[in-house]
């Protein structure tokens, strides 16, 4: 930019000439900030950074889980073994398949229900509670309840198929039945979290926008389609990435309900890591598998971040 007498737009002046002090907190405040963050940081280092570093180290050794010490040096051979292992990739695929099955349902259905609930004029609290309540039930309890309902012959869900003249799939004995069982359970159980995120975002939308639309003669359906949904797009993006990451981390439901069965056809990658690392004592190998999985999760997050940044700059 050349030095001219032309006045620059106010905003640009502001950002350019902002004094140093407003960008950085004063020294004393900075120190206090770190002090307040110490309890969190201590836990973060002890239970997250520390274990990740330990995992990184033992992935390079032939470590036995049930023995002290690192064992002998293995170099990158654990990684080579993981990458060439069919069972690892099969379990990776199961985690991805679970994500593909659950994400669309858990992004779109809570959106639809959050919008519907927002249009109810009375006793909204009841619906919010009803949708959110299952989320606070522990996974083991949810799985036990659903295991009862999926029981062949006597289970509630098994019988419910009969009411419509359908035959229930074998929820524990067949792969497709097992996926159906675990996806339905997950939908019921985790629905509430996304629902609450959407509900919060809907409440953020200013009432005046709707009023203005009403004055212009917009029908309720037009209001939803042209105001609510577009204004919820950032939340949908957030829900999508949170859902993808949490679905990729699936373990509890599949482990407790199915133990990865039948014949490991639904075993997710975390259970594979658990099985090799703890049941077979192959600590080094399991640590290498964890690292591979970790890198994949980081790549997914990074890809989302880049896509979002591009779309944000395109919108600007």
């Amino acid at each position: 930019m050349t030095a001219t007498a032309l006045p620059l737009p106010a905003t640009e002046v502001g950002t350019k000439d902002r004094p140093e002090s407003t960008r950085r907190a004063p020294r004393g405040e900075n120190r206090a900030g770190w002090l307040f963050a110490t309890p969190f940081l201590a836990f973060y280092i002890a239970f997250l950074i520390g274990p990740v570093l330990i995992g990184l180290v033992i992935s390079l050794f032939n470590t036995t889980t049930v023995r002290a010490g690192l064992g002998e040096w293995a170099g990158l051979s654990n990684y080579a073994d993981v990458l060439s292992n069919g069972d690892f990739w099969a379990s990776m695929w199961h985690s991805v398949l679970f994500t593909l099955l659950t994400t669309p349902l858990l992004v779109l259905l809570p959106l639809a229900f959050a919008i519907l609930v927002s249009r109810i004029s009375r006793n909204q609290w009841f619906f919010r509670l009803a949708f959110f309540a299952p989320y606070v039930v522990p996974s083991a309890a949810v799985c036990l309840i659903f295991a009862f309902m999926y029981t062949p012959e006597t289970g509630l869900i098994t019988n419910a198929f009969g009411w419509f003249g359908l035959t229930a799939p074998d929820f524990f004995g067949s792969t497709s039945g097992a996926w159906f069982a675990v996806v339905l359970l997950t939908l019921w159980w985790t629905f509430g979290f996304n629902f609450i995120l959407y509900t919060a975002a809907i409440q953020e939308i200013s009432e005046e926008v709707y009023e203005a639309a009403k004055m212009d003669g917009a029908s309720p359906w037009q209001q939803i389609r042209l105001i609510t949904v577009p204004l919820l797009r950032p939340t949908m993006g957030l829900v999508l990435i949170l859902q993808v990451l949490s679905s990729l981390k699936v373990f509890d439901q599949i482990y407790i309900l199915l133990a990865g069965g039948p014949a490991y056809s639904t075993r997710p990658v975390i259970q594979y890591i658990f099985d090799t690392g703890f049941s077979s004592y192959r600590g080094g190998y399991a640590a290498a598998a964890t690292m591979v999985y970790f890198v994949i999760l980081v790549l997914v997050s990074a890809a989302w971040f880049l896509l979002r940044r591009r779309s944000n700059s395109a919108n600007a």
Partner: protein, 442 residues
């Protein structure tokens, strides 16, 4: 301001939790902080038995407590890998139970990882010595020359038959309460053929094949072991398949399901229970632990005998054993070890109760007792415990392991006819390679 201030509340909360932590050293919660074994009873015992076996074990534990005045806390954990994972991790973190059940087929890994105590002098002092056990079981309890477990039973894979149908087919031994002696596979196939033809049955026999890799594996290893040695050796790192023997075994097994159609090729555990219970087949190939399943079936009279010699010269029984082990704990006192040994001895003496579940007691004083000899059909197949072949020793083999699942899946595809015997051998080799080439953890 009335009531508590926030500061007071936090202080009160803090001192309460501190008091709990300090006073709780003897409680399980306290000991989990100090890293010592919880001491809620004289003997802490873990097992994996539900159903009828679980009820029998509960009776034995109760009787053992009553006769010794030793308190025992018994915990039932879920069967299979989860059980062994919990056992291993509790031992490696120094807080295991005092006594636990283990399958002998899972023993090599536990012993090599130094998670269990060898069976030492304290047992000898109580009279628990090698000469008082079924030799095959004691041998399997020995890893690298040291015994690590006290076997309580042998539970072999055996031949169930419907007494009524066998009588009509002329298969009953007139002199005793068994079948007419069979010397080899030809006699065996002839017996099955007679069962099918005389009674006009669709099938002579049934075994659970579909979605039951463990049963497939037991059936296979029994026949194969008549001809050849273990399929892996050197702790599982070396594949030692006898290709000709394996092909012959597969051909024989496929002959039963395909050629002569003596057995259904698609049978789940439910199918096989139904067919045998309703008298629609004359024979069932399954483990002795299924005896309680059929005992209560109305109108079904059955008996259980060991399999005859099939492809090899001598009869072989695929089997596994439940055993009692003392997981290693650095801080266990001499008194607790003594209680543990006493408790194990007590369970051995009570193992006639255990035999009710179909198991053959490994403790000879019980096995040779009048009480057991009168127990039918259990005492018919004591011989199978002596001819027992277990899973080959290795870090990945044993009851409920991935190895059994992988092997069983190949065997099932041979039995259903999807794979021919030659390709079956190749598939077994490929499948074994993933196990044998993985680096052993210990």
């Amino acid at each position: 301001m009335s009531g508590f201030s926030r500061r007071q509340f936090l202080a009160a909360g803090g001192s309460v939790s501190l008091a709990v932590a300090l006073s709780g050293c003897a409680s399980p919660i306290g000991s989990s902080f100090t890293g010592s074994q919880p001491q809620t009873a004289d003997v802490i015992f873990w097992h994996l038995f539900g159903g009828g076996d679980g009820a029998n074990m509960a009776t034995m534990v109760e009787d053992a407590q009553a006769s010794s005045r030793r308190s025992v806390e018994s915990t039932l954990l879920s069967w299979g890998n989860p059980y062994y994972t919990k056992l291993s991790l509790s031992a490696s973190s120094g807080r295991p139970p005092d006594v636990s059940i283990a399958h002998l087929s899972r023993l090599p890994l536990l012993a090599q990882a130094e998670l269990i105590e060898p069976v030492g002098d304290q047992f000898r002092a109580q009279g628990v010595t090698e000469d008082k056990f079924t030799p095959a079981a004691w041998e399997k309890a020995t890893v690298g020359g040291t015994p690590y477990a006290v076997p309580i039973d042998t539970h072999p894979f055996v031949l169930f038959y419907n007494t009524e149908l066998a009588e009509k087919a002329g298969l009953l031994d007139p002199s005793g309460d068994g079948l007419t002696p069979m010397r080899n596979s030809d006699d065996f196939v002839a017996a099955l053929q007679a069962m099918k033809d005389t009674n006009g049955l669709d099938f002579a026999a049934v075994a659970s094949i579909t979605a039951d890799p463990s049963t497939c594996w037991r059936f296979f290893l029994m026949i194969y072991s008549g001809l050849a040695g273990p399929i892996v050796s050197d702790g599982g790192t070396e594949v030692t398949i006898d290709r000709a023997a394996m092909e012959e075994t597969f051909a024989f097994m496929q002959g039963l399901t395909q050629g002569q159609e003596l057995m259904p090729r698609n049978a789940t555990a439910t199918t096989s229970t139904t067919l045998f219970s309703q008298g629609r087949v004359g024979f069932l190939f399954d483990g002795v632990w299924q005896i309680p399943t059929y005992r209560g079936v109305e109108g079904l009279e059955f008996n259980v005998v060991p399999f005859p010699a099939l492809l090899g010269p001598d009869p072989v029984a695929y089997a596994d054993s439940h055993a009692l082990v003392i997981p290693r704990a650095a801080g266990r006192s001499a008194q607790r070890t003594e209680d543990a040994v006493g408790f194990i001895k007590g369970l051995l003496d009570l193992s006639a109760i255990w035999a009710d579940g179909g198991h053959v007691p490994a403790w000879l004083p019980v096995q040779e007792s009048e009480e057991f000899l009168e127990l039918k059909p259990q005492s018919n197949y004591t011989e199978a415990a002596f001819n027992a072949i277990y899973d080959p020793p290795g870090w990945y083999t044993g009851a409920g392991s991935d190895f059994q699942t992988a092997m069983g899946s190949v065997i099932a595809s041979v039995l259903t006819g999807a794979t021919d015997p030659t390709s079956g051998v190749a598939a077994m080799e490929t499948s074994l390679k993933t196990f044998s080439t993985a680096r052993p953890p210990v």
